[in-house]
């Protein structure tokens, strides 16, 4: 296949046209600065996953040479990959940020939330998240959600108003016109903000490569003890796997997403560099969520239903 870039052809290029990554970066930075300018207590949801890492990188660039004027919030399911938690703590220390943590385990210990039979804790994150938002009175909460991830997310605004229960009502969304974002909200309400709305998985990886952003090792191929459940390779752990009839084996795998260990699957991969990963994703016939997320397969409207409840 030839690889001509159309815009270098005669007559079609403007020296002022931005590359697609520059264009997405500029838009995301604009969104971060709008929130800094209009809100009192913004926070960035930070899981140590690639999308939140890119968000932090963009925020650092948006306010350089000053510090990022936001704190971070991690909703900790208790089923984390250790490499990801280490990354999180390093990033917080390196940039002098404040980290808030909402613990799912606390809620289970107090009997407020109940462990699900399948051990999946992703749906259990909503209550700790929304209570933390209320308790800390956060008025803008940045999420790394992208519209290409899922069909309900394709309907999401960049500035998404949530009521005092953090609920999303897709029928009552504000139209979003030009780049004039409306962040008005009543006391108790907050706005979820998605600076990566217009990015795709490939854009995120290309940006990581271009900017030389460091990632947790689990995103690259490594030997790992895994077992198969519902067509996915899961990491063995105290969270409840493997069960009877499930056997652990050593495989060369990597992760496309990072979430709760109980429902985030690894993919067979030999990709050890960023270029390998990009080539692999460009050729993949599966979406990131389809390949690695059990929780989205629960029903046709799983994501919409979780978002309505206040999930990110």
């Amino acid at each position: 296949m030839t690889t001509t870039v159309a815009d270098t052809e005669e007559g079609t290029v403007s020296p002022y046209a931005l590359s697609h990554l520059d264009s997405l970066e500029s838009e995301a930075v604009h969104i971060f600065r709008e929130v800094a300018g209009e809100f009192e207590r913004p926070v960035i949801l930070f899981s140590g996953g690639k999308d939140s890492i890119v968000m932090l990188h963009l925020a650092l660039k948006a306010f350089a040479p000053a510090a990022v004027p936001f704190s971070l919030l991690h909703v900790d399911t208790g089923h984390n990959f250790p490499e990801v938690l280490q990354y999180r703590d390093r990033a917080v220390a390196e940039h002098g940020l404040r980290l808030h943590v909402a613990l799912v385990q606390d809620y289970i210990d107090r009997g407020v939330l109940k462990e699900r039979p399948d051990g999946t804790r992703n749906p259990l994150q909503t209550l700790p998240l929304t209570e933390k938002i209320q308790a800390e009175r956060f008025d803008a909460v940045f999420g790394g959600g992208r519209r290409d991830e899922e069909k309900a997310r394709a309907k999401e605004r960049v500035f998404s108003l949530r009521d005092e229960f953090s609920q999303w009502d897709p029928r009552r969304q504000r139209p979003e016109l030009w780049n004039l974002y409306n962040g008005r909200h009543a006391p108790g309400e907050h706005v979820r903000v998605f600076p990566l709305s217009n990015w795709t998985e490939l854009d995120v990886w290309q940006y990581i490569a271009r900017e030389g952003i460091e990632l947790p090792e689990i995103y690259f191929a490594h030997e790992r003890e895994v077992f198969q459940r519902a067509g996915m390779w899961l990491t063995a752990g105290e969270w409840g796997g493997p069960k009877d009839g499930e056997t652990v084996e050593k495989r060369l795998v990597r992760y496309r997403t990072v979430g709760d260990m109980s429902c985030t699957g690894a993919v067979d991969s030999a990709a050890v560099t960023l270029d390998d990963v990009i080539a692999e994703i460009a050729a993949s016939r599966l979406t990131e969520r389809g390949a690695t997320r059990a929780d989205d397969k629960m029903s046709e409207a799983a994501m919409e239903d979780r978002k309505r409840e206040g999930y990110f």
Binding site: T4, A6, Y16, H20, R33, A64, K151, P170, W178
Partner: protein
């Protein structure tokens, strides 16, 4: 795809475009084919659609399920909201604002078109230009979308005959140019059969132009914006106050139009104070020149009082400030907009109080006729509005700048986005706007 290196992919540009089409014009089929042929529908998504279609008793997979993301949409089989879709070819990345075609969703079309550089208007070759086509063309013209594509679909149902296409293209182009649409590209296609969508059609030898995708891949983006009046709305003041940067004071914003260079004499509006650009930081890196739509931080030679909401402009090319804004608006909220309504106006990064002084006319999109003094605008209405603002605003004409010529009205009570506004005259102007403002004596 897999043979393309990451550098080559990064070098591509981004085209934002919007679709408009009536329910049965084949919009979903066209979108489906574009996504499918550009490898943007992946197998797990297709499987999900097949599963859902089968559980509904449908024999073939219903591709509309790919794009109808909400429970209510799937239940009712209609599209109720704008959705954004992403796909890529080796030449370019695309963001598609997939907007519903029903007339009651004019606001959604306005939403999609506000950020689009190209609008696709679909017509059914058997029906030609109909009322809905004229409505779509009028909205594209109002929003000043730089490129309009007329996709004459279902050519397979008219035996791929050239005269059918030529007559529709001619009628539409004449109508569109009357509205002031700068450029129309007409393409005969069959979204269902695949003619001229991605691959050139063997059935229409008479057509020598680009396929639909080829046109999307090669249409120029951002081609004239850098030469417009330079405008930088200040979003945020960056003051590190650290040992390393004790005196750094930068004005952060996304350049809305034009080009700024170090050394340019600038004026800050609305105060009117002047200074010179002493430095430009492009996300941490110093540069000599920056242009739309880069997010930058500008440093000035003098200590000027500047805060969020101010507009930095070249001293030789400053817009007038005014407290009386005349605009064409599209009302997007369910509660009506009435004369005397107290609102907030967000223009660039500035939000000020305002009052609706007059609604001189409402536009009937079907025939572009004006209904004088309607008293109010309801959801999806397009009309002319006169607004008095509490503080002077440096507005441009929307015809000159889509970013500094646009605004939204917000309900101060509950924060609802009420209205999308475009400053200055449009094809719908009932009278010369500037003269009227002069007569009032409010002109600044």
């Amino acid at each position: 795809m897999s043979t393309i290196t990451s550098e080559e992919l990064s070098a591509t540009t981004l085209l934002r475009f919007a679709t408009a089409g009536s329910v049965d014009d084949g919009k979903s089929t066209l979108v489906g084919r574009l996504l499918h042929d550009s490898k943007s529908i992946l197998s797990d998504q297709l499987e999900a659609v097949e599963r859902a279609s089968a559980s509904r008793g449908q024999e073939a997979p219903d591709l509309a399920l790919l794009t109808d993301g909400l429970r209510a949409e799937r239940e009712q089989g209609i599209t109720i909201d704008v959705a954004y879709r992403y796909f890529a070819t080796p030449r370019r990345r695309f963001i598609l604002a997939d907007t519903p075609g029903h007339v009651q969703y004019t606001r959604n079309m306005v939403t999609g078109a506000s950020t689009a550089e190209l609008t696709v208007i679909l017509v059914d070759a058997r029906n030609g230009v109909v009322e809905q086509t004229r409505r779509h063309a009028a909205i594209a013209a109002l929003l000043r979308v730089p490129h309009v594509v007329l996709a004459v679909n279902k050519m397979d149902l008219v035996d791929y005959r050239e005269p059918v296409f030529a007559a529709i293209a001619e009628e539409f182009t004449a109508y569109a140019s009357e509205l002031g649409v700068p450029e129309v590209t007409a393409i005969p296609i069959s979204a269902l059969a695949g003619d001229n969508v991605v691959d050139p059609s063997a059935n229409m030898d008479w057509y020598g132009g680009p396929t639909f995708l080829e046109h999307l891949e090669t249409v120029p983006v951002s081609h004239d914006l850098a030469h417009c009046h330079a405008r930088l709305p200040v979003q945020y003041v960056i003051r590190p106050q650290t040992a390393e940067h004790p005196d750094y004071r930068g004005y952060a914003g996304q350049i809305a139009a034009g080009t700024f260079r170090v050394g340019d004499p600038v004026t800050v509006l609305p105060s009117g104070r002047t200074s010179t650009i002493s430095g430009i930081d492009l996300l941490g890196e110093p540069v000599d020149v920056a242009w739309t739509t880069q997010s930058v931080t500008v440093l000035l030679a003098d200590d000027v009082d500047i805060s969020r909401g101010d507009l930095i402009v070249p001293t030789k090319d400053a817009p007038a400030t005014t407290q009386d804004v005349e605009a064409t608006v599209c009302h997007v909220a369910d509660q009506p907009l009435t004369v005397g309504h107290r609102v907030l106006i967000k223009h660039g990064t500035r939000t000020v109080k305002a009052i609706v002084k007059d609604i001189p006319s409402r536009l009937t999109l079907d025939d572009l006729s004006l209904h004088p003094h309607p008293g109010q605008l309801v959801a999806n209405d397009i009309g002319r509005v006169k607004i008095r603002t509490a503080q002077p605003l440096p507005v441009d004409s929307y015809a000159d700048s889509r970013r500094t010529g646009s605004f939204i009205l917000i309900d101060p009570a509950d924060g609802t986005t009420l209205t999308a506004g475009m400053v200055g005259e449009s094809f719908a102007s009932p009278e010369p706007v500037k003269d009227a403002a002069d007569d009032d004596g409010w002109d600044f």
